[in-house]
Assembly symmetry: D2
Homo-oligomer: 272 residues x 4
């Protein structure tokens, strides 16, 4: 049976499309993991290619075929080559991929050493064009934050809450198309930027330690993004980054946030 190939017909509007693809596809993947080599998780994936002005459409089933063939393995070594394969499969000069997933690390309580897993929302976003390979890795890191103002103005106590540091890094990939920095590094930087890391499992002696050490190091959202920036701006594995801190304020029904990009945008730093 000879079925027409509508997507391959010409288009006459003269408008190239930056991205055509599939989104919101959930898939079991494995991700490189510094401690174990790899870990199994579940991702939400978007895949796209650029579409030239003269082509009517893209063959979307090939994106799913790509995902099946590629097998869902993501590591520093495989990202650029996967994009090359996607570009070839879809016959396009530019391919892009975005993979979001929970990434799990074992965390140990500060006194008892009792341990459990913490989940971090992470993402890989990458693009490959004839001219360059672009990569971003992102981690969202939960922390405890204790309010410096509340502590300073009160005779006892201080409001605190869960906060989140989202670090989006553009790794140095110059020579090899391979990042030297990974999620574990970003998470460690984020966990050091609040009043205290959060933990999955705390016994009473741990809870005492976490309560007092958090109270000893109060931070505003402003401090949290500066703490991250202070670490990453001198890290040669990172070419650029942005960081956002959000506190789910325990005394309000809204969040407090701070955000910065590095290197600073001379035009005022706004994303649009």
């Amino acid at each position: 049976m000879n079925l027409p190939d509508v997507q391959s017909e010409p288009d006459h509007r003269g408008i190239a499309i930056d991205e055509v693809g599939i989104s919101g596809i959930r898939y079991p993947i494995s991700v490189y993991d510094v401690e174990h080599g790899k870990q199994e998780t579940v991702a939400t994936v978007s895949l796209s290619v650029a579409l030239p002005a003269e082509r009517k459409g893209s063959h979307l089933s090939r994106f799913v075929e790509f995902l099946e063939t590629h097998g869902g393995e993501f590591s520093p070594e495989t990202i650029a080559s996967a994009l090359g394969a996607l570009r070839d499969r879809l016959d396009s000069p530019i391919a892009r991929i975005e993979v979001q997933f929970p990434y799990f690390l074992r965390r140990y309580a500060p006194v008892s050493n009792a341990s459990g897993l913490v989940d971090y929302d992470c993402a890989i976003r990458a693009a490959l064009s004839p001219r360059r390979f672009e990569l971003r890795i992102r981690a969202r890191v939960p922390v405890t934050s204790v309010c410096p103002c509340s502590k300073a103005i009160s005779d006892y106590g201080a409001h605190n809450q869960r906060g989140y540091l989202t670090i989006d890094a553009k790794p140095q990939t110059a020579a090899t198309n391979r990042p030297e920095i990974w999620f574990d590094d970003l998470i460690e930087v984020g966990e050091g930027a609040g009043s205290s890391p959060i933990y999955p499992l705390l016994k009473r002696e741990d809870e005492r330690h976490v309560t007092m050490s958090g109270y000893d190091q109060p931070v505003f959202v402003e401090d949290m993004v500066r703490n991250v920036a202070n670490r990453l701006r001198s890290d040669e594995r990172v070419e650029a980054f942005s960081v956002e801190a959000v506190n789910d304020e325990s005394i309000h029904n809204h969040g407090a946030f701070a955000r910065l990009s590095w290197p600073p945008d001379l035009n005022g730093g706004h994303p649009w």
Copy 2:
């Protein structure tokens, strides 16, 4: 033009359907408000009717017509009569409605009296059958909770966080199909059950007050649901209720929760 009416055809599987309707429809509504008489907000609405075994389908466009005609005004007086109109319009013995919306109340800081609005997720769920009128009103109330254990075991400080109390009440409506209790009442009960209410706007003197008064009244999630139950079990305007407390734990990446129903379910209280 004479178009076939497929929905009115007979069905032969012998299976009655509890609910057929529309869901996820956003609509501007007005809700009765104790202070101002009414307030404007935006709701997500579900409307349904029971469908007898012998009828193939329901005419869904009539639900939207009902919403247009009814005008989106919700007060203690109008809920039962709206259900009656929906039942008539759809020619069904049983009609149900579920309306979820943010409800806004002005809240005043405890020292400076500075004020702003707090948003509470509220819901009305109601059903009308030939035998009875069923009503539930629900409010989700943000509070601050300070951990009693953390306070007791630490030399200074105590972890705290935003918590939510969700109170779902079945009001007494015996004589009149009209509840004597409303969202403002449930919210006031919820705000009294934590370590401190949350506030939209706090000046420094207020933040000092809130920090210290919260520290003076630490509560577990267990205490929060018991505090609500203690108030509502003796309130004659409430026939039954359930309450859930969830703390977005500031030292963990998961929540702590407690839940109870009143009167207690002798079989163990589980919803399924």
Copy 3:
């Protein structure tokens, strides 16, 4: 260091709590899988126990310890025994668990046989009391639905859309505390209840087949829940079930839905 155990103190309000526990904890788990024995996925977990009136609080860290020890393996054989262990660990007569996760099945295109994975939102909910073991398994199944009315009244075409069938089954577990029915069965029932199953990967010949076979079998949401009920009411492995169908209507900005429980609730079938 001798730290006070606040949770073990007595409470004098005389209010027992149905559930105290932790919620929203993400964890890598493995689930029994008919084809491969098991599959790796990521779950969101809630664990709880009943708390007697005279006890102030529950020791929440023990829930995380339980999860670590238990190892996150879920199969028909292990659910009841896991609940027994949780009950012992928390020293409570009643324990409950709720586990939600994407479950993946390979699906084959109807003509080309090209295959990929489909993700189904599934859940296990279970409770163990001294008197009984309660279990529910739930699967949310995407389908294509073609509107019978639109087809009947139009000279050509028919609006269609993605719909979801959510089947919540109470398996027969009488003798063994072990269900004889699993997610694969519920999913297969759901996929047969729409106009067509959805597929991850369709080549042109498949898309032609799916388009025409869907058009040949139009269904309302009412038909979809009746199709499921018709299959399950005679399935001896199921003691009771509820089913909901929701269509993300392609011609509206709201959903159409139908819902029923089996055996029928003589009081009108409303959950509250």
Copy 4:
């Protein structure tokens, strides 16, 4: 009582912060509406200012005071002046605001003229610096899309689904800091770019019309973004725009999407 002002203390890390503020605050607002002058809705608001390197923190309570004072009225005339007031209140050179809300328009069925409201997710994002005023307005428009491939390869029928066109426009505001284009215009462009607009209320004669006219105008996601681009690239009220189309594919469990920016980005058009 003389309470310390921690936020006003100096910071020595030498890191300026692009944005500090509050986020996730829900508030009743009124928005300019071409037909009625204004409409009441509920927004989620973020407000922020830039923080110089030498200042430790921002006074977040002033953002809520600003919202209270400003009163939540948004129209083409008021956006720039509101930002000026926010800048003054927070003593910062740069202020930003982001307001997301459902915007309601009455829509009339094509044959019967029966009408109801459609909800569109809309947003205003604006920034004011000493050098310039930046404004974006965004509307998310639901449409019906019928697949051209499915229609061409099948003897009858064609898969279709709900799709969403998200148009993000940078209006010309050169002389007056006032946009000449508003949400109603973007929505009208979006509704013309699919196979058919969606409607809140359709009688049988309308459903026949919508089914057949949609079948007569099949579109890919690629066509939808090109249709929008074709209209807006010649619209002098728009300086730049981006458009994204997403189809909730009725035959798959993932979405198809296309995205473009105008003027085209010579570096390959990727946002990062």
